[in-house]
């Protein structure tokens, strides 16, 4: 402020300096008095002017009135019929205008750039997300189909004759019944073998009967032999008359010998038969005796397998049920995500609507530039009036183009 004052009344200090010099060169009281009066006048006039200006209140505040204040003054509810031009701001304020204009333009450009970038990134990101979620959705569908078909396989009814493949349960049941069939077979074979053994015992008993008969035959042949000997002795005693009888006796003796040999051979045969039959009985005994413990173990294992398979089946069915639930949930969640992506529309709209305010700011920059070049306030005032009009219009309708402030589903309006 002091600098401005000195610039305006530069002659006051110059006069006082000159007076001082004269005084120093010509130290005479009359001259001194004259110079004093002159200096007082030189300083008094500016001070008086200063005092006068302070009274009116235009100079004396710290900041010179800026162009925005002028605008604000213009925007206060005044009757637009009498636009009074406010007093011109200090000349130094005008020099700020170009700087202000360039700053405004630069920052507006920065904001516009950022907005465009945001829009671009948003669009790409959301497109990517859309694609990804739709892919996920399709995958869950496919998975669900697989699970359903698998469940169908697991719980297949046994009376469906068209089914080409066997469930584990059917297989185990078939195995179990096959095992039972073989066990029954073994028991039956054993029964028949034991029966055979009994019949063999009967045969052996009958052969013992034959042996007894053979023993009788032996006795008879022995007796016959003895008789023949006796007959031969008697025949010899009878002399000539007994010669015929002696021949008969000899013949009988021969016959009894044959008989003895014959029954001896018979006995040998039957002994051999007995041996063979004993061997047969041994073989039959082997067939009859099957250790059933192996079958027992096998059947026990198969039965345990059946129980395990039932458990596994139940567990699988339950797991499949749970998987189905999980996938249903995933489905719902994906749906929610896809719906949430609609935020892109809203954000795009919001970003789009920054263009208007940015446009206004650009106009401001231009107006500032024009004002700075032409040294005329009119463009600024026009801008202020237009802004005021627009604000009034803005207050009557919804200011924000999008009413949404949160992302709850159901409030979404699609543009």
């Amino acid at each position: 402020m002091l600098l401005a004052f000195l610039q305006a009344y530069w002659w006051a200090p110059v006069v006082s300096l000159g007076a001082l010099l004269v005084q120093c060169t010509q130290p005479r009281p009359e001259v001194a008095l004259m110079l004093l009066v002159l200096t007082a006048l030189a300083w008094g006039i500016p001070l008086a002017c200063l005092w006068g200006q302070t009274r009116t209140g235009l100079i004396g505040c710290d900041d010179p009135p800026g162009p925005f204040d002028t605008l604000a003054l213009a925007n206060t509810p005044e009757p637009p019929a009498t636009p009074e031009l406010p007093p011109a701001p200090a000349p130094d304020v005008w020099e700020c205008l170009p700087a202000i204009r360039s700053t405004v333009e630069e920052e507006v450009e920065h904001i516009a750039e950022a907005v465009t970038q945001t829009q671009g990134i948003l669009r790409d990101a959301v497109a990517g997300l859309h694609q990804s979620f739709h892919g996920l959705y399709n995958q869950t569908q496919a998975q669900h189909q697989l699970v359903v078909s698998l469940m169908g396989d697991m719980t297949e009814q046994t009376d469906t004759t068209q089914s080409s493949h066997l469930t584990m349960q059917q297989f185990t049941e078939a195995t179990s019944s096959l095992l039972q069939y073989f066990i029954d077979l073994v028991v039956n074979i054993s029964k028949q073998s034991v029966e055979t053994a009994y019949k063999i015992d009967d045969m052996v008993r009958q052969m013992d009967g034959i042996f007894a008969l053979l023993a009788n035959i032996k006795t008879i042949t022995d007796d016959t032999h003895m008789l023949a000997l006796n007959a031969a002795v008697e025949a010899a005693r009878a002399g000539e008359a007994g010669r015929g009888f002696a021949v008969v006796a000899a013949e009988v003796r021969r016959l009894s010998q044959h008989s003895r040999q014959f029954s001896e051979r018979l006995r040998t045969q039957i002994e051999e038969l007995k041996t063979t039959i004993a061997a047969v009985r041994k073989v039959v005994g082997g067939v009859a005796s099957t250790d059933l413990n192996v079958s027992l173990d096998a059947k026990g294992r198969v039965d345990a397998m059946m129980v395990d398979i039932k458990k596994v089946d139940a567990r699988i069915a339950q797991s499949l049920q749970e998987i189905s639930t999980v996938m249903h949930q995933m489905h719902t969640d994906v749906g929610v995500a896809v719906r949430a992506l609609q935020f892109e529309d809203i954000i795009s709209q919001l970003l789009h609507y920054t263009e208007k305010p940015l446009g206004t700011l650009r106009c401001l920059g231009t107006a500032l530039g024009e004002a700075a070049e032409t040294n005329d306030r009119t463009p600024l005032l026009t801008l202020g009036t237009t802004a005021a009009h627009r604000r009034e219009e803005g207050q009557t309708e919804a200011h924000k183009p999008v009413a949404q402030t949160s992302m709850h589903a159901g409030d979404v309006e699609l543009f």
Binding site: Q180, I183, D184, V186, V187, I189, S190, K191, Q192, S193, V194, E195, A197, Y198, D201, G285, A288, S289, T290, D291, L292, N293, S295, L296, K299, G300
Partner: protein, 101 residues
């Protein structure tokens, strides 16, 4: 393997106690019991408390006893089976043909 036979006083119930191994070596004795039993015998009791082992020939012998005693009309009880023996009788489905204890 020992086989002991007891007959009730009225001759109607024949009890056969089997100890040791009930297998093929016993087949003649076993048959002897029921073939020599009095004609009035209507019920048979096979006591397997002391029987440690049974194989398929024993099952065959029991089936033949059942046939001898009248098949479906026969009353044959198999009693006091040990655990392993019972398992064998069960897998052969003897519970449908005999009274198992």
């Amino acid at each position: 393997m020992v086989l002991v036979t007891r007959t009730s006083s009225d001759g109607k119930v024949v009890t056969i106690d089997i100890s040791g191994r009930f297998d093929f070596s016993m087949h003649q004795e076993f048959r002897g019991v029921y073939e020599q039993a009095p004609g009035s015998a209507t019920q048979y009791i096979i006591n397997l408390r002391q029987t440690e082992y049974m194989d398929s020939s024993a099952l065959g012998m029991l089936l033949l006893l059942r046939e001898h005693a009248g098949g479906d009309r026969a009353h044959i009880k198999i009693m006091h089976c040990q655990h392993e023996v019972k398992k064998i009788l069960t897998i052969a489905n003897f519970q449908h043909l005999f009274c198992l204890d």
